[in-house]
């Protein structure tokens, strides 16, 4: 499979977090995974061992994967063997994401998150 060469003159990335990838160059396979739960609590209480992913079905349910029923032949003709970008500015790459300058064969990324907010008193009553 003919892969083109990526040519980038200037690239600026400010933040890469939560099992994300900023990759310059080619790769074969990229599979980032990030789960998270994220609790916002009105009082400052930290128990240190909270958060059980098995408790929430969204973290254990099966994710849909593409089902390919027939052989696929891809014929790719590249008039130019370069992909040129002058300047790239990325503020943030987060939560199982990928920013790659270069080619790859397979990418399968997963992120689940959740967000829970705990109030001591009803915020609408204040």
């Amino acid at each position: 499979m003919t892969r083109r060469t990526s040519v980038v003159d200037y690239s600026r990335v400010i933040n890469v977090s939560l099992s994300s990838i900023f990759h310059i160059g080619d790769s074969v396979q990229v599979t980032p995974v990030a789960w998270a739960i994220a609790v916002q609590r009105q009082l400052q209480l930290f128990y240190g061992d909270e958060g059980n992913f098995l408790q929430f079905p969204m973290f254990t349910m099966e994710l849909p994967q593409p089902t390919i029923q027939e052989p696929i032949t891809v014929n790719r003709y590249n008039a130019s063997s370069f992909i040129k970008v002058n300047r790239i500015h990325v503020t943030s790459v987060a939560a199982g994401s990928v920013h790659q300058i270069g080619s790859t064969n397979y990418i399968n990324s997963e992120s689940r998150i959740k967000h829970i907010r705990q109030f001591h008193r009803d915020p609408n009553m204040e």
Binding site: R4, S80, G96, I113, K114, H115, I116
Partner: protein, 58 residues
């Protein structure tokens, strides 16, 4: 299935991306297979009002 792609010249000036987040990709290059999954989920149980009950331990 036969799939033919003819790529001509590609040259981009400036790209400014605010955020690449939640199982997303920003690829400057070629690839064959891309599978992206993200399950966000903030149902009613995500807003708890009342005495604190710690989450289940790890």
């Amino acid at each position: 299935m036969n799939f033919t792609v003819v790529n001509h010249n590609i040259s981009v000036g400036n790209i400014d991306v605010g955020g690449v987040s939640s199982a997303s990709i920003f690829l400057v290059g070629d690839t064959d297979t891309i599978i992206l999954s993200c399950v966000f989920d903030t149902p009613p149980e995500s807003l708890i009002i009342g005495p604190f009950v710690p989450l289940a331990p790890e």
